[in-house]
Symmetry: C2
Subunit: 413 residues, 2 copies
């Protein structure tokens, strides 16, 4: 496990010098700004008096939600009451120093706050303004509240997930939030690169439903080309057989022979080459038609040896083969650990927090933990001082936020 102690003296990241004012909360927006922060941007999370609701979600240890910690590493926190004139004034001053503003409010909320696209451009020419919403910034559903589950259902994703028996199935991760957040980060960096070249800012947006739609891959292509609506096929592959989950002596294995060449390698490694001319096995089309029989024949061989035997033998033969791991297995896997995908990060006052490592690797300016996830408002003083506030004003803003207590300030995607 990689031990990470926050260290601001390490080499600069990809987005060194980029300042992001992050008005987003919960998941899609904070995931976007986590990417930007991991890439080296300075992300200032502007939180309402009650804090990002995710601070109260998931399991907390020593007063810190590990869910919040994972999604908010490398960020600073400023707590402001945006329902007061002074709070809004501080936010506007902050935005005037920023390269990027990110929100995931419902469309229209920023306009009501006086921070629509025109206002933001006036505050800071050349700014990038990135929004994430459920359904897009326009259109008939624009005012509906959005949520990952709704996007999974609406986008066709749930209809493709599951089995014939299960019916449409939500997946266990908030996939539409995560996809949209990653898209928003990509769009933001692309717009920053353009701004560096042209001096011009840009309005960028991503949506939960649009992101999932763009992940339709062969299913969408098949539907567009044929008009046939693909069904959920569970662990089978609609166009290829054999393919799927097989039962070894001590557990299940995934086998994915995606083409005829790999299929032949599989049959050789299973010592089933004599079936080559069997009418059920002759062609992929025949095997798809006789999938139950084909899978049973193969499974009879697979069940004679262990998972680890087949992983060694089949992969060596060039057949993609793996194990089915739960999270405990995944985070104990030597390959996963070799990629530093499990990190333990020191959070002063809250102990060491385990979290997932960086999915992107860079040779020159690797992602790193520069800062632990911030306590609510922990950077008020330093950020406000940079904006020219004196100690008394800083204290007044903090008192204002404290008084505002649990006032809400919009709804997030």
């Amino acid at each position: 496990m990689k031990q990470a102690t926050s260290n601001t003296a390490q080499p600069p990241g990809q987005l060194e010098g980029v300042r992001v004012v992050d008005l987003s909360r919960i998941l899609s927006g904070p995931f976007c700004t986590m990417h930007l922060a991991d890439l080296g941007a300075e992300v200032i999370k502007v939180e309402p008096p009650e804090g990002d609701p995710i601070r109260q979600q998931g399991h907390s240890i020593e007063g810190l939600s590990w869910y919040f910690a994972a999604f908010n590493r490398n960020k600073r926190s400023v707590r402001l009451n945006l329902r007061s004139a002074e709070g809004m004034k501080a936010l506007r001053k902050l935005i005037a120093t920023a390269d990027v503003v990110v929100d995931n409010f419902r469309p229209g909320v920023m306009d009501k706050m006086g921070l629509g696209w025109d206002a933001l451009q006036a505050l800071k020419p050349g700014i990038i303004y990135t929004s994430i919403s459920g359904f897009g910034q326009t259109g008939p559903y624009v005012h509906r509240p959005a949520f990952d589950f709704i996007a999974q259902g609406m986008s066709g994703f749930m209809a493709l997930n599951g089995t014939r028996e299960s019916g449409p199935l939500r997946t266990g991760i908030p996939i539409s939030d995560l996809v949209a957040g990653t898209y928003a980060a990509l769009g933001t960096v692309a717009a920053l690169m353009r701004r560096d070249r042209t001096g011009r800012g840009e309005r960028v947006s991503a949506a939960l439903v649009d992101g999932l739609l763009s992940y339709g891959a062969f299913s969408s292509a098949h539907y567009f080309a044929t008009g046939e609506v693909p069904e959920a096929v569970g662990n089978d592959h609609s166009l290829v057989a054999p393919y799927g989950l097989f039962t070894a002596a001590d557990g299940e294995i995934t086998i994915a022979p995606s083409n005829e060449g790999v299929y032949n390698k599989l049959m050789k490694a299973l010592e089933l080459e004599h079936l080559k001319d069997d009418v059920h096995f002759q062609t992929n089309a025949a095997r798809v038609k006789n999938r139950t029989h084909v899978n049973a024949v193969i499974n009879e061989v697979v069940r004679t040896k262990t998972v680890s035997h087949w992983i060694d033998v089949l992969n060596a033969a060039g057949v993609p083969t793996g194990m089915v791991q739960d999270l405990a297995g995944a985070y104990a896997d030597p390959q996963v650990l070799s990629q530093d995908m499990l990190m333990e990060v020191e959070h002063p006052g809250h102990g060491k927090v385990k979290m997932t490592g960086f999915a992107l690797k860079f040779s020159e300016a690797p992602c790193q933990v520069r800062l632990p996830a911030p306590d609510l408002g922990s950077d008020n003083a330093s950020v406000l001082r940079e904006l020219g506030y004196g100690d008394a004003q800083i204290a007044a803003l903090a008192a204002d936020a404290e008084r505002a207590g649990h006032g809400a300030s919009g709804e997030a995607a």
Copy 2:
């Protein structure tokens, strides 16, 4: 449906002037370079004599796979025999003009081709070299063949997807390829931005397993914080009730009341407020414990009206509510159409191809179809001429590729 005719005269995209040499094939790499191309980069797809295998997959109309077309829009194609000295020489000349090289070969293949990181830097100082692999560029599994299904099983994703009855379930889209491809695009653009500022190139990599791990969200956080391994919960939410799929008079609806405030709005809209003090309903904890009963009581009300009734009424009440659509429903949805997420693109010689629109929206330099997906080798002449090749040499390279016929040149993630 948005009609798109390729048009190179439209305003420049985010990545205007960036040249990408794309050695990738099948899915993860081409999805990465599709993003770069959609953002305005010039992507030159270098294909082996037999072409990207995806050209032969999925349903073809007028000689064109719509699956290939969707993932390879906005790219050019150069067909080269990389097993010949002349083919490799042309590739090296091409790389010397590039800003980015992308591959998804198994780690080590590029080194064997003489195109490892050092060689690429020598060919073009400041180049960005982006690789996508199954498991990462190092580690104990580095030489295993990789595939989306394997990554879904190994990363813990399958163990979180499904129901108690179904067991671990692969999802219907090649999620690990798509996530890794999007990460690779993000890493590439971030590295380009850094290069613009520092002049320094970079090695960037993403992996199918790492990408999915990074999408573990609350499940991973829960496992890290408690040591408890989260189980697949189907359409339920492990921590919240009511939440899930309910049956209206004419179909199913998704209802996602993620917190107590929204739950109260739901109960009011269902006219079930009198249950507030019922022992089964008093707290979220009680409702989770009595989920079956709670869901049944709610469903008794839901089944009395239609899907469209509840979508109107519950969303108006502030409760995220949606329909479950298959792809036919999704691509007929007025909101989806309003976002131009269904495009029909003219492919000269192959008719009009329907495909998914752009998930990212930009105010200044929107993504657009500048080029239809290329025929194999359709840009050999123009690209090679730019490199200084004469007509005879261009013809000789084409003849060499033609002769090489079906030689393979590596394995892709």
